[in-house]
Symmetry: C2
DNA sequence: GCAACCTTGACACGATCGTGTTAAGCTTTG
DNA sequence: CAAAGCTTAACACGATCGTGTCAAGGTTGC
């Protein structure tokens, strides 16, 4: 065969027909259509579908993540904004620059001083 | 004030205290802690939080999207894999190359021929 | 023409997201 | 010391994700 119908494609890719439609609705694939609307999956689409399963499993992420990553990768404005946001970390008081914000030092003593029991930060970063 | 406590930070950023903790658990912020475990939000964190609200609104995306984008931006392997996957589109029969996969042309006629009602692809791309 | 297949739409359901709220227990502050 | 704050844990709840399944109706194939 050449271009597979949805059920055939489902069998060779491991996805259920339902999921193939769902993935399409998520904008991650775009199978061709016969004039009557039947989906036909070419070898490229089939390969992408198999790879997609691997990706989701390998990186333990969701379809929506992949969809967003695609958006992130192609939307220049989005990427710029987010990248800038990511960069903006470490605004940590190591470089308290100027009096930009009333003396960190001062209060640091007032508040952070006189204490004990140090390692109490159980992050539980929701694996 | 200097480093704000969670409730103060909530007020100036617009997020609820609950959400500030949630956002932290998502790994998007990492406020300092007093030795006793009290969160203190510095001006940097506060700004990031305000910006975050703008980002989510402006690009209509979720916290998990931002979290994944961050991962995508910093995990070389992940990015490479996904980028490769994104690229792999348009495996469309315009460049059917060689006999890589038994004659598209041939079957194209067998299946796609003799039909009418053309524009029936309502995408409904789940806005 | 009838069985087999495809299409969209909808109901369902557990899982997770985004939020609020409350409980139980330290800490800071007046 | 008592009130006010902070912390984590947990229950709750509507919304969306990921899937299955079923229904109603065209299409294809023998």
């Amino acid at each position: 065969m050449e271009g597979l119908t949805i059920n055939e494609a489902a069998e060779t890719t491991g996805w259920s027909p339902r999921m193939l439609r769902y993935i399409e609705s998520a904008g991650l694939i775009e199978p061709l259509r016969t004039p009557k609307g039947y989906r036909i999956f070419g070898p490229g689409e089939l390969q992408r579908l198999r790879t997609l399963r691997e990706l989701l499993a390998r990186f333990d992420c969701a379809l929506s993540d992949v969809a967003f990553a695609r958006r992130y990768a192609s939307d220049q404005e989005l990427r710029a904004a987010l990248e800038h946001w990511f960069e903006r970390r470490a605004e940590r008081p190591e470089g308290v620059a100027s009096g930009d914000w009333l003396s960190w030092e001062q209060r640091k003593h007032e508040r952070l001083l006189a204490q004990d029991t140090p390692p109490r930060l159980t992050e539980t970063t929701a694996a």
